[in-house]
Symmetry: C2
Subunit: 144 residues, 2 copies
DNA sequence: TATTGTTATACTCTATAACTATA
DNA sequence: TATAGTTATAGAGTATAACAATA
């Protein structure tokens, strides 16, 4: 049990840092820009290829209804497309469109621009630290 | 400009990992437990001592109205107390109560318990990595 | 005039519940 | 029965606008 205080400190430190970052990121949202859940869903499609709404909801750990709403917004703007699965009539396969991938990679989006600007004030070792910790955060979320 | 792609990758990786973690953390919310903004505000009072609502709103980068709502909830449960500033009648000084600090440090709260459980699956170097990156995330948020 | 704080209202993201269609 | 998806409704957390009180 001698390790517990350290684990607790890590938890509180992460909560504070992450909370601050998320609130700030939400504020720089602009028209036409991708929202946070949209960015997550698109990045997931980019990394993992086409998927279904419920599969995406499972890996993103939100309800299928919430994922449906997010995908609906993306589809309306032409960032994803859905094709009915010929083998299973209940399912629809979602894939990112070229426009969607472009939006995801668009370095001139307001949020990405500001994030990149802020990150450019970091040293290269700090950037490597941040990059290395991203998968740890994912693993942490998956294990909660 | 050869560094830009790396900065962009860091940004996307962080967005995905953090988004997942925040959504998951919100789900384990329970009655009487501290919410994410409440945890942030209390941790800030714990680290920085008594403060005013607008000063807290500024450092947490949210509107004074939002901070007022958060503090109202904390005050109703006796986790913070507000005393009118005798020198400036507009201001009220907010301080964390013993009960508030206890709630912040309570290892048996549902969220902290689950977080600690998940973190116990990490190696010591990984924990150090996570701990080291928390202040970087704060600095990042402050520079956006 | 500027600042602190409150009240009223609305938006975003998420949830649960109830439903339809398909397996 | 079980699963994929939709529609309806509600809650948390945030925002902006308008206001009162104090500096």
């Amino acid at each position: 049990m001698g390790q517990d205080p350290e684990v607790h400190d890590v938890a509180v430190a992460l909560l504070v840092g992450i909370g601050l970052l998320v609130r700030r990121l939400r504020q720089v949202q602009r028209d036409g820009d991708l929202t946070l859940p949209e960015t997550s869903a698109l990045a997931r499609l980019d990394r993992g290829g086409p998927s279904t709404a419920s599969a995406l909801a499972r890996v993103e750990q939100i309800s299928p209804q919430s994922m449906g709403a997010t995908l609906g917004g993306l589809e309306a703007r032409g960032f994803v497309e859905r094709r009915p699965d010929p083998l299973d009539g209940r399912q629809a396969v979602i894939s990112a469109t070229d426009a969607g991938l472009q939006a995801l990679g668009n370095r001139r989006s307001v949020r990405t621009e500001l994030l990149a600007q802020a990150l450019s004030g970091f040293t290269r070792p700090e950037l490597k630290q941040l990059m290395a910790v991203a998968p740890l955060l994912e693993r942490l979320a998956e294990n909660i």
